[in-house]
Symmetry: C2
């Protein structure tokens, strides 16, 4: 299929939503935990998480335009903290269910049977069974003028990683961790390791073929 | 492993770089094509691509702080256009090699044996063998103050998708497409489909257990 701008603009809405959401490829998914002002926890799945930088250690999350249901966003505005939790393979369907428009009044942890963890080192609700748990504080945010989405950039204050998936050089084995990625809004994928390559250097003679076995 | 902010700040630099780059999970990777002012092509791998919105159809890319080697960024400033190309499984090592600091003077397409495609519908260099090719125009950009990285938001003007991976409802089968994701800066993963769930609705009785077989 070939589509130009006018083709894209005249597509069936559901078809376009699915298609454009898939163009960015398989997106890592996380469960975001926040507290409201009464310290009640909220949990929601996010697939638009981005690495911002390693030093200072920062990550970004893209939020939909703010509306009545923007509980996670409003909680972050209130107390400047959030958690990102890796989604265990066994919890994919529960995680997907957190995308429902759940009315305030009960935590998604409780509603969907996801065990909550509170710790002394960081004041945010974590998913107890996640192999990777990250605590972040609000650092800055940017309004995307084109569609009113909002990028929140957070500074990493706390990391908990299960030792079995952490390698001595700081890599996380995403294969052993059974890392879950999403295609579009409703399809989930598991990752399988293909290859690890050395830091790419300019080839001595790059005029014809790249090194294939270095 | 548990790490607080002071632990993170005192980590070995290489360990921290690997670790923090892995926290966002498996990231979809793309090859970005740009033209310089002489219409010479440039190609570089990017793992920080994000879905911004479906209508208008937009994607974002996070760039490192601008320096002497920021060819892709400078090319976009010059002519406001870029392409994102899915990385075929067979080209992963060549794609990784494009991250080398290659001196200007020869296109990475030519240097690494990646076939370039130019088309009449969009003025940007595409990777001929990619199953998904996207042409975008610069729409807005945001400087992340915390570390001087830059988010460029592009509007999708052109899409080419191989028919064999496009489903009737607009989904792309990322499994059949052999979608490649990256962990950190040097490790590559293939995705395998796990499940597709219906649009999440609030459960009639969400007080105890989520639906498991719906």
């Amino acid at each position: 299929m070939i589509a130009t701008l006018s083709d894209i603009e005249s597509m069936d809405k559901s078809f376009r939503t699915n298609l454009i959401n898939h163009l960015s490829g398989a997106k890592a998914v996380h469960l975001m935990g926040t507290f409201d002002e009464q310290h009640q926890s909220n949990l929601a799945i996010f697939s638009n998480v981005i690495h911002i930088g390693a030093n200072p250690a920062m990550m970004g999350v893209l939020f939909r335009p703010v509306g009545a249901d923007s509980h996670s966003y409003k909680n972050i505005q209130a107390n400047k903290r959030f958690t990102l939790n890796q989604i265990p393979l066994s919890m994919v369907q529960q995680a997907h269910q957190t995308s429902a428009r759940y009315p305030l009044g009960k935590s998604e942890f409780e509603a969907y049977g996801i065990e909550e963890e509170r710790i002394s080192e960081f004041d945010g609700p974590f998913v107890k069974n996640s192999l990777v748990k990250i605590g972040l504080t609000w650092e800055e945010e940017h309004l995307i003028k084109s569609n009113q989405t909002i990028l929140i950039v957070g500074k990493i204050q706390y990391i908990s990683i299960q030792d079995s998936i952490l390698l001595p050089d700081g890599h996380i084995d995403l294969d052993v961790a059974q890392c879950v990625s999403a295609g579009g809004l409703d399809t989930y994928y598991q990752v399988k390791k293909l290859a690890q390559f050395p830091y790419a250097k300019v080839l001595a003679d790059a005029s014809h073929e790249p090194r294939r076995n270095s």
